[in-house]
Symmetry: C2
Subunit: 406 residues, 2 copies
């Protein structure tokens, strides 16, 4: 993608919001969403009403999803360990929540209510002090009921009906109504993504660079073509720019999978989207597992499904991926919604360098050290010698004045 043009336009939006605050937010929302905003902030009354309208079945699903996310993310917290590296020299890491978190939840055709769970639950669990949420208003100026229900369940502090680059700018620089945050999370369109990258160079951290979603499936003769087709389609329906890949060395399953895709495609409400995405997608026949693993690790898929006899062997050869799904009964959609793992994952090859969102994403690990007089003596030669080698004698002096003290 050539981003320079986009960046210029997004920069204008960011400047406008940074300078003109709420006034710019209202003006841009009218321009892009066609809505004249009275209240930028969603009211308590609106949240109450939304919660009353949620069907019991959906509430139950949200409860189980949340409970599993909490369980898995809780397991990611570590205890503080004090390490005495040398006698009298004690060092430790303390996990501290990032204080102010901003969540961006896209609106549009598919309201991503599960993303509120995936980002809000670990932020809450990490102990973040203030969590705010921005999401674009619908045509009626309202926010999706389920989004409000989940936000209320997670005690999100403030919810704003603002979308696009203007929402990202507001969370980075603050307006009269929307407070600035330390880190912004969440997916979005090109404008949102560009705005996140731009503000991350200046003012706030972001979860990760974002691109279109993707899945790679490794299948052998033991895989079920119906299941594989369903998994490929579940990724393809996300957007026309989604990419789905099937790797195999068993030529005979390819035709069966293609036939199944054709059959299942007919049943889908998002058939057109899935079909468009399939145009960018590939089935790749290779000679053996070695070749497959090499190519998969080079591609570094966001999602990787391993549907083979020896899933464990292949799982142990995964080097670059966001999230890995093992076996015939582990569809990607389990991780998207319910198993407890996070679904905010690195795309577009970024899995080479980035993890998906996890508990680390919401905290900092601050190092502490406490050194006794004896401890300082034990490392004083090292400090003074290295400081001297770097030509920084005041660094050595900070040790000398202490160990020379009678």
């Amino acid at each position: 993608m050539d981003l320079s043009d986009l960046n210029v336009r997004v920069n204008e939006i960011i400047d406008d919001v940074a300078r003109n605050g709420d006034h710019a937010i209202k003006k841009l929302t009218e321009k892009f969403d066609g809505i004249k905003l009275d209240n930028i902030k969603v009211t308590e009354e609106e949240i109450r009403t939304a919660c009353e309208g949620i069907p019991h079945k959906l509430k139950k699903a949200i409860d189980q999803s949340l409970s599993n996310i909490m369980r898995f993310h809780t397991s990611q917290t570590a205890e503080e360990k004090k390490i005495e590296t040398v006698s009298g020299v004690n060092c430790w890491q303390r996990t501290m929540p990032i204080q102010k978190i901003g969540l961006y939840i896209p609106g549009g055709s598919a309201p991503l209510l599960s993303t509120v769970l995936m980002l809000g639950a670990p932020a809450r669990l990490a102990g973040c002090r203030e969590i705010i949420l921005c999401t674009p208003p619908g045509k009626d100026g309202k926010v999706n009921d389920a989004i409000l229900y989940i936000a209320s369940l997670l005690e999100i502090d403030k919810i704003f009906r603002v979308g696009g680059a203007q929402a990202i700018a507001a969370m980075a620089y603050g307006t009269e109504t929307i407070p600035s945050v330390n880190k912004i999370f969440g997916p979005g369109n090109q404008f949102v993504t560009a705005a996140k990258m731009l503000v991350s160079m200046d003012k706030v951290a972001i979860d990760m660079p974002a691109g279109p979603s993707e899945v790679a499936i490794i299948a052998d003769g033991s895989a079920d073509p119906e299941f594989i087709a369903a998994d490929l389609l579940s990724q393809a329906e996300h957007g026309a720019d989604s990419q789905v890949l099937l790797f195999t060395f068993e030529e005979r399953i390819i035709e069966k999978v293609i036939a199944e895709i054709g059959k299942q495609l007919e049943r889908l409400t998002r058939k057109d989207t899935a079909e468009a995405s399939l145009k960018n997608s590939k089935i790749i026949l290779l000679d053996n597992q070695d070749e497959i693993m090499e190519m998969v690790n080079m591609y570094a898929p966001e999602h990787l499904i391993i549907a083979t006899k020896d899933t464990e062997v292949l799982a142990n050869r995964v080097i670059n991926a966001g999230s890995v799904f093992l076996g015939n009964f582990t569809p990607e959609s389990a991780g998207d919604y319910a198993s407890g793992t996070n679904h905010t994952l690195p795309t577009d090859g970024w899995a080479h360098a980035y993890s998906g969102v996890n508990m680390d994403s919401f905290v900092r690990k601050i190092t502490f050290q406490e050194i006794s007089r004896e401890g300082l003596k034990n490392i004083s030669d090292t400090i003074i010698t290295l400081a001297e080698a770097e030509g920084l004698d005041a660094h050595g002096n900070a040790v000398s004045v202490r160990i020379n003290r009678k």
Copy 2:
């Protein structure tokens, strides 16, 4: 800082290197460093010669520093825990090293050999597959001996005598000689920093945004003015743009610290730099500890020294900081060189959102999940209901085809 002009110039350098590879590297090194490069890569012979020239005392200092860094960073690794979130649904995180790491080590007046330790040791410990290092050539076209010695100790795979934005561009996009990497670490001047930010938007991850170094000290009447002055000066000597702050509610120590600064300044070889830095620096007298902790947490110092009677009480009130030093015998220079903690830390307020470099910086945490047929049944309603609420029926279908299978 207004960065737009700088970014334009740095973008030109990046484009040049991405297009013209080694040819651009040689041309830019001649332009900026005044060196005609024959070999971009440092030879085995040069490394051997450098190692032979290292004094025993420096080797010993490097050994202790490395051993402590290894000990503290080893304690940061976690074991893999398999979590059964619901019966039959197993999820776990696997820690995987980032495969290709690039280290940037500035040259110039102070060769930062300790930074090779601070970045190379955890990269090695994490199991990164290929670690390369770029550092600008000296006036004689050579790389500092101690840098080569440490790099060889850590088995850094390749060392290149290239500095500036051109080094960052080479590690991001690769040249005929310099391989591209997945993540770039290390401090540098404005050009290096701008280049890191720019390539991080496109191609590789970076450790963190970088700015001038800073220290904040909290002192009460129990603190020693000579020690405080030495700590302030050890930060001030880094650069004219370093910032040193002293917070206290004990007016009587202020004059003593100022007198001590004056006395110690005379002894320093980098007196001019320290004096320039002190011009940006402040001693801040507040009414009480509450006010101090509020301001310190707002400032989010890279280094925080707490030299008070009740260090533990104040340590427990630290919310935003990079690394914290407790008590009268814990100078910042201990953490810079020898205690085992990392000295690559967030500056310029970024401690609100970023940790310093630690083991997490060199790995990704890939999630895995394996679900049994029963397990999938246990979460199927949740997946199907949430997928439906988001209008993504192919996601639900991937579950239905499985649980409906006889």
